[in-house]
Symmetry: C2
Subunit: 228 residues, 2 copies
Amino acid sequence: FTHSRSSPSCSSSVQLWTLPLPFLSKPRDFSVPNSSWGPEMMRLYEHYNSQCEVEMEGGGKREGLWRKLPSYNRILKYATGGVYLSKIIQSKARLFTRNIREPGAAFEYVLFANSEEQKCVGIFQAGHLLEGPPGHVHGGAIATMIDTVTGTHASMLSGPVMTANLNINYRSPIPLGSTVLLESCLDKKEGRKIIITCKVMSTDGSKVHTETTALFLSINVCHLLERA
Amino acid sequence: FTHSRSSPSCSSSVQLWTLPLPFLSKPRDFSVPNSSWGPEMMRLYEHYNSQCEVEMEGGGKREGLWRKLPSYNRILKYATGGVYLSKIIQSKARLFTRNIREPGAAFEYVLFANSEEQKCVGIFQAGHLLEGPPGHVHGGAIATMIDTVTGTHASMLSGPVMTANLNINYRSPIPLGSTVLLESCLDKKEGRKIIITCKVMSTDGSKVHTETTALFLSINVCHLLERA
C-alpha cells in the first residue's frame, strides 16, 4: 500500500541491490496485450492507447492526452541499509498483482493516466484464479485493483504515498472472466493528504460495481525502507 | 465477497455439477500446518487449536470454546441452472486466497471461531508473493484477508452474506514474511445487516496494523447463482 511511480531512490542509507543478470536487461512490462486478453480488454486498451500519441501534420507524432503506465512484477531496486528482511525474501518477492505467470489466470490489467484531467483509468480482466463467491471475483481482489489504480494515481500527483484509508462500497458483484473499467479521480489535495474517488464499472458504463473513497498520505519512502 | 459457511444448496434452478473424480474424495483442507509455517504461526495455531477440544475426567473429550474452520481452494458444488459462466472457467476457478500451490509463497492462514463470544480470529503468515511497497504486504492482500475473516464470521452468524462495505484504516505496514493476527468482533446485527469490526495486529498485540468496519448483507445465494 505504498505507491511510488518509479523505484524509490533515497540518498542516505539505501543502496542498490546487485540484480541478477537477466534483470540487468530491460524488465518485462506486463501491461501489454497477450493472448488471454478478450475482445473487451483489447477494445478498451486500443481506445486509450490510441490517444497516447497524436499524429501531427507532416507525419511526426506528439504526446497525446493519455499515457500508458508500465507495470513490472518486482521492485527493480532494493534497499539494503537497515532493512530487516532476509535477502531470500527480498529476492523472491513479487508484486501481489503480478505473481502468477499464466496469462489470463489472475489479474490482467493496464493503467492509463491523463494528467490534464488529473484522472487515471484501469482496465481489468479478472481471471479464474480470483474467485470469491461462486462464479464471481473476490472482494479482496477488487480491493487490490482499487488500491493499485488509486495508489498509482496518488503517487503521480504527490510522489511516494501510503494508503491510509480505503472505504469501498460493493454494489454489484463482478462475474469471473469479465472485464471492468476502474476510473480514479482526484477529489482533494491538502498538505500531505490526497483524497481520491474510484468507480469500478462495466465496460459500457451501465453498471457500477463498486464506489470507493481512498485517502493517501505522502511519505518519505526512505523511512519505510529503514524501519527496523 | 459473498460468503457462505458451506456450499450453497438452493432448491429451484441450481443443480450440482458432476465433479471430476479426484474431488469425490475428501477435499484438501489448507488450514493445517505445513513446512512453511514459521514459529509464530505454529505458536498461535497451537494456542487456539488446543482450545478446540477439552479433555474430560475419565479420558473423553468434548468441544471446546474455539472451533477450527476448514478452508478449501475451490467451491465443491457448482450451479448449472442459469449460470452464464463457461464451464471451463467454472472448472478452473480457484479461491483467490488459495490459488498458489507453493507452501508459504502467498497466503498462509487459518481461522478459528468462538461462538460463545461471537468472535472469529485469523492467523495469517504473509508470503513473498504478496508484496506491495518494498518489503511489505500489499494493501489489497491485507484487505483480502480482512474480507475473508470478517465475511466468514458474518456468514457464521447469518448464513450466506455479501460484503456491502469495507472501511479499512491502514495504520502501520506489515513486513513481508511476518505473521499477524486478525480479530473479528460482532458489532451489530439488525435485520439483513451485520456490522463487524476487525483489527489486524502484531502477534503480541503491541501493534495495530489496520482497523476495519465491515458491513455485510444477508442474501439468498440462489439469486447470485441465477443472475444472467
